[in-house]
């Protein structure tokens, strides 16, 4: 929390101004009952109209002063609040952009968004309010009691009991409610997640005829939500009536004592009215207190969530000693590389060593979970290897500036991510100096140009929510074009042709040959692998074999089994006969 508040430092001057303005308001509010006392005792009781006019005018004038400082306070508080929110939001986003993929796996997307929007506005509101009422309410209560005592000790004595007791009750209840609220929020999340699941999985539920099962599951949670919500809301609703009752009782008692005191002449009517007036003002302040404590506890939770992100250690920073030479050839060496995902204890890659020359094409084959995608992700340093070294052009990639390394790599991930925008935006993603010809060439090579041209708006067709729905294969090819347009030195295809039909895939692979780059293709299809210069076979995170198709067919049993399963016995004999 303190860390998050430290972002307020640069607005210190403005905050002091806001508080000064707030103090003027507070001063006026505390002074008014005293003025009333004067009007009643010296004016009304003595039938002195002049006194009434004089102090009446002062009251009106000071009210206006308080109003004006209130308006000015609004401006300043809003300014500080918004600037603060702005600074926090930006700091968060910049921090998040420096995160590695490991961090992203730790913070779900939805939670990151909440932190950047909801939590920031909670903090912002807290700051805004703290410059306006948050301090005013407690100060009003403290000084209200002091002033009331100053007016008439005996009358105000009751306040010394009632006010602390009410405050204690209030804080106790708020604390309780906060605990309950966390539980309610928890169940609400559960209800919403079941609802979401049911919408997303509706086909399956219908197919299996599981509506009743789902309804039972939902009803239970929904019922729990109702009971808990009712409990917590009822708890909160006791606060105001109890506070009002206590404060009203206090007023009746003050009136009773006041009557006696007036009779004995030790108090004036004006003094009684003034003490009662302080009491009613404090009652109002107490009800603001509920509001302030909720806002504060919310802000505290939000502040914690924001601080979690801002203080999260950043890994994979570029070292100072950086190799600035551009990546020219694109050869890749793995030297005894082992890798496991952070905070897991299974090695997904174990002691992998191989070497790929510049402009070679290598296919990576293996079962699901054998480590193919993980291996590919290490090259652009989406993750760092635990052991061993990966070299590009003979240089340890940890010595290369990340941006430079990644610019040299064209990566087509398995899960295709397109951004909402036009197809042109997506292909030219992040490049300002792409010519029309370059873009079209990349699209042609990715075998998607004709498809794009068949859309009415061509390259300006919108994709994503507002635009056309693309098939998996079309998305894959756009994503390939996006990698190709950058003329990468190293091209990494992570099972990126799975949705393409055989013919298109063959044309694509043919077109790739016109690029002078080192290519790694993760694939399930033998037919694709056969196009490569060499094939790397992975099993359980270990490198099983590395060689040409013919070599592997002769020496590796698993490989020949794979070939047989996909191409049939005839396939093998055909291959053998052609080789």
């Amino acid at each position: 929390m303190r860390y998050v508040l430290s972002y307020l430092k640069s607005y210190r001057k403005w905050m002091i101004i806001a508080w000064m303005l707030m103090l003027i308001e507070l001063f006026v509010e505390l002074w008014h009952p005293l003025l009333m006392e004067k009007i009643i005792d010296n004016g009304v009781m003595k039938n002195d109209l002049h006194v009434i006019w004089k102090w009446g005018a002062v009251m009106v004038a000071t009210s206006l002063l308080a109003f004006l400082s209130g308006i000015a306070n609004s401006f300043v508080a809003a300014y500080v609040g918004q600037q603060y929110g702005f600074a926090l939001r930006n700091a968060l986003f910049q921090k998040v952009q420096s995160f590695s993929l490991f961090h992203f796996s730790q913070f779900p997307t939805a939670s990151l968004i909440t932190r950047m929007t909801n939590d920031v506005s909670q903090m912002q509101n807290m700051v805004f309010m703290s410059l306006r009422v948050m301090l005013r309410a407690p100060l009003l209560i403290i000084f209200g009691v002091v002033m009331a005592l100053f007016v008439h000790v005996k009358l105000a004595l009751i306040l010394l009991i009632v006010v602390p007791a009410s405050l204690a009750f209030l804080l106790f209840m708020m604390n309780k409610a906060a605990q309950f609220f966390t539980k309610v929020q928890h169940i609400l999340d559960r209800v919403n997640s079941i609802m979401g699941e049911n919408i997303a999985g509706i086909r399956l539920i219908k197919a299996w005829g599981r509506s009743l099962y789902e309804k039972t599951r939902f009803t239970e949670t929904n019922q729990a939500l109702m009971t808990r919500t009712v409990t917590v809301l009822r708890l909160i609703e006791t606060i105001t009536p109890v506070l009002l009752l206590v404060m009203n009782m206090a007023i009746v008692i003050i009136l009773l004592i006041g009557r006696v005191e007036i009779h004995t002449g030790s108090a004036t009517a004006g003094e009684v009215v003034a003490v009662i007036n302080y009491t009613t003002r404090m009652t109002a302040a107490l009800s603001i207190f509920t509001f302030v404590t909720t806002a504060f506890s919310r802000a505290k939770a939000s502040g914690q969530r924001i601080a979690n992100i801002l203080t999260a250690p950043v890994d994979m920073l570029d070292k100072d000693k950086r190799d600035e030479q551009p990546i020219e050839a694109g050869s890749i060496q793995f030297e005894n590389v082992s890798f496991r995902y952070p905070e897991t204890d299974v090695d997904v890659l174990r002691d992998i060593s191989f070497s790929i020359g510049a402009h070679e094409t290598v296919a990576i084959l293996g079962e699901t979970g054998s480590g193919k995608s993980s291996l590919l992700q290490l090259i652009p340093r989406l993750y760092d290897a635990m052991d061993g070294t990966i070299k590009v052009d003979g240089i340890d990639i940890r010595q290369i500036r990340q941006e430079r390394l990644r610019t040299a790599i064209g990566f087509v991930p398995q899960d295709i991510l397109l951004f909402s925008g036009t197809i042109r935006d997506n292909i030219c993603f992040g490049m300002d100096n792409v010519t029309e010809e370059e873009m079209i060439q990349a699209a042609k090579n990715a075998q998607i140009h004709n498809t794009i041209m068949s859309f009415p708006e061509g390259y300006d067709t919108m994709v994503g929510q507002k635009g056309v729905t693309l098939s998996g294969g079309q998305k894959q090819r756009i994503s390939i074009a996006r990698a190709l347009v950058r003329h990468p030195k190293i091209l990494l295809l992570d099972d990126s042709t799975s949705a393409l039909d055989v013919q298109t895939e063959a044309q694509l692979l043919q077109a790739l040959k016109s690029y002078s780059c080192t290519t790694l293709i993760v694939t399930q299809k033998i037919s694709t692998a056969m196009e490569a210069d060499t094939i790397i076979l992975l099993k359980d995170g270990k490198l099983l074999a590395h060689g040409t198709h013919e070599y592997l067919l002769r020496t590796n049993e698993l490989y020949s089994k794979l070939v047989e399963s996909q191409l049939g016995k005839k396939g093998i004999s055909d291959v053998k006969s052609t080789t």
Binding site: S74, I199, L382, S420, K561, S565, T578
Partner: protein, 597 residues
């Protein structure tokens, strides 16, 4: 270059006709009706508390006249006791009104949620095909939350504010029409200045919402696309774009907050002014003997009591209207046409042998383009049928018709000679098991997810099915084994492993008819080999429909249906079709020849 998806959520439009609002209210009333009695009690409580809140100051004012000004002493203690009782009753009644109202409100919300949830299960699949589930979801959760909050407090506040307002004015008029007129002078000033402020804030708040929505969308996209942003080293550009949007939000937020900050200050100064006015003018009246001092006390207290509800009413009314708009969106979904009910004379199928026949079946999703046309084929029990053809020829449609997600426009689908339209949907589907394109798994343990195929399956049967699907070995490698909880976003296990679980889920169901929709395309060849082994066991004596891209899988099918542009163009075994030298052999050689080179 990144554009945020357009959000309808942020900006709430309140421009709806009175008639629409009345209609929505009537719908809500439908949910409240059986709680009529309790609701009446709540309203009585609101009346009592509003009355008491007016009675308190009145008695105080009268007491001032009697005991302070006139210095009488008789009946003083009676008044004190009366006052104490009034305050006690006031607190009690206002507690009770909320206490009961919360119960009513939450029951109603519960009922609406339940009905909505039930509706999801009755909507036809086409409803979900047309909508983004995320959007649907956020709309529902927000709208219902909004309704819940409004019901809890707004309803009571609107009623009690109105009652207090009317009551205060009536009593004031009875006491002194002239002073009432003076007191009410403040109302037009308040109205005018509030209007001035709300005109400004509403605009700013809308703008702020819009900017916030845009920023939200931007963050969402950048974060879910983070891998690509990183791979293409676009972090700096993203930050620059973010700063721009953040700045816009700051600007609109500043003005919205500043203007709305004026409201309490304005209320305060107006209260003070009206107090000064009442005290001043009242003092003069009292001087002339037109009213008593006690009346001034009563007026000053009432003036405070009605400026507050006047201010509240405007606010509450707005939240009330936006909650109504939300309610309407929820009802919109509840009112959607349901999946057609099973026809009146439907039957349960106790057992299915697995003979399937399509007779002249035609179907179109949009009444314009036929998805499939005049499809004829028949499958005898235990046969494995592969559906083959390029994307979009109607393979999925055939499966969806078989499952009765849709009904054919023309023709009949028969199972064991019975028209499926005569069979209850639930009964029909209970004889089938599916491995669909998306291996959707639920948040819950692996065990629960496998058991989803047959709810009464024992733990042993779950393990057995997992072994058959070759999922057992990876499951036991997980730290918590079968009790591993799968997260809603599907993190934790790989796509292939999800497929294996989906297959285990199908296996445990022991269906008569098995449907595999491209189920094998995401699994590596080694695993696929093992799956095929297991599937062969499963397919024994069962009718099986397979949609697969790889011809190798299809070679083993008993029969192949070759589809082209929505019709079955060829059928037969792999060998017989090759001999025909038709479309199938063309497809086959295109792949095989290339593979062989």
């Amino acid at each position: 270059m990144l554009r945020a998806p357009h959000r309808m959520m942020g900006v709430k439009e309140n421009k709806r006709s009175v008639k629409e609002n009345a209609q929505t209210l009537r719908r809500i009333w439908g949910f409240l009706e059986h709680q009529k009695g309790r609701l009446a009690v709540v309203i009585v409580m609101v009346m009592i508390s509003s009355g008491l809140s007016l009675l308190g100051p009145y008695i105080v004012g009268r007491a001032v006249d009697t005991y302070i000004i006139a210095k009488r002493t008789d009946g003083f203690w009676m008044v004190v006791v009366a006052l104490l009782l009034i305050y006690l009753a006031l607190s009690l009644s206002s507690f009770l009104q909320s206490y009961w109202m919360i119960g009513i409100a939450q029951k109603t919300i519960y009922a609406i949620r339940t009905e909505l949830f039930g509706q999801f299960h009755q909507l036809p699949i086409s409803f979900f095909n047309q909508r983004q589930s995320g959007e649907l979801m956020s709309r529902l959760t927000n709208d219902i939350d909004n309704m819940s909050q409004t019901f809890n407090s707004t309803v009571i506040q609107v009623i009690s504010s109105t009652l207090t307002l009317i009551g205060a004015v009536v009593v004031m008029l009875l006491l002194s029409p002239l002073l009432t007129a003076v007191t009410l002078l403040i109302v037009p000033i308040m109205y005018g200045s509030m209007k001035w402020i709300t005109n400004r804030t509403q605009m700013r708040f809308k703008e702020q919402q819009r900017n916030l929505g845009e920023l939200n969308g931007f963050i969402e996209e950048v974060i879910s696309g983070q891998k690509v942003v990183k791979l293409f080293s676009q972090e700096k550009k993203m930050i620059a774009q973010f700063l721009e949007k953040s700045e816009q939000l700051k600007q609109s937020g500043f003005w919205a907050q500043t203007y709305s900050g004026f409201i309490p200050k304005l209320m305060n100064v107006l209260n003070n002014m009206s107090f000064a006015l009442i005290a001043g003018v009242g003092g003069i009246f009292a001087f002339k003997g037109m009213i008593s001092i006690g009346t001034i006390v009563i007026f000053s207290e009432y003036a405070r009591q009605f400026t507050r509800p006047l201010n509240d009413l405007a606010n509450q009314w707005n939240t009330f209207l936006s909650a109504l708009a939300g309610a309407e969106r929820v009802f919109e979904i509840i009112d959607q046409d349901k999946e057609e009910d099973d026809e009146a004379e439907t039957i349960d199928l106790p057992a299915v042998r697995g003979n399937v026949e399509f007779r002249n079946v035609s179907f179109s999703y949009d009444q314009k383009r036929k998805a499939i046309q005049n499809v004829n084929f028949s499958v005898t029990e235990g046969e494995t049928v592969a559906l083959v053809g390029p994307t979009g020829v109607g393979k999925t449609t055939i499966i969806q018709l078989l499952m009765r997600f849709y009904d054919p426009d023309h023709g009949q689908i028969l199972i064991d000679g019975i028209d499926t339209r005569r069979v209850k949907r639930s009964s029909l589907r209970s004889h089938m098991a599916f491995v669909l394109q998306d291996p959707f798994l639920f948040q819950g343990t692996i065990r629960e997810n496998i058991r989803y195929g047959r709810l009464e399956a024992t733990d042993e049967e779950v393990v057995e099915a997992a072994k058959w699907a070759n999922a057992h070995s990876f499951i036991t490698k997980l730290p918590k084994g079968y009790d591993t909880v799968l997260q809603p976003d599907g993190s934790g296990i790989s796509q292939g492993q999800k497929q294996l679980l989906a297959i285990a889920r199908a296996m445990i169901a022991k269906p008569s008819i098995l449907v595999l929709d491209e189920a094998t395309s995401n699994i590596d060849t080694m695993t696929e080999l093992m799956i095929q082994e297991a599937l062969e066991r499963l397919m024994e004596k069962r009718t099986c429909f397979v949609i697969a891209h790889r011809l190798n899988t299809i070679q083993q099918a008993d029969r192949i249906l070759v589809l082209r542009e929505g019709t079955v163009v060829e059928q037969g075994t792999h060998d017989s079709l090759l001999k025909e030298k038709g479309f199938y052999s063309e497809l086959y050689y295109r792949q095989f020849k290339k593979d062989a080179i």
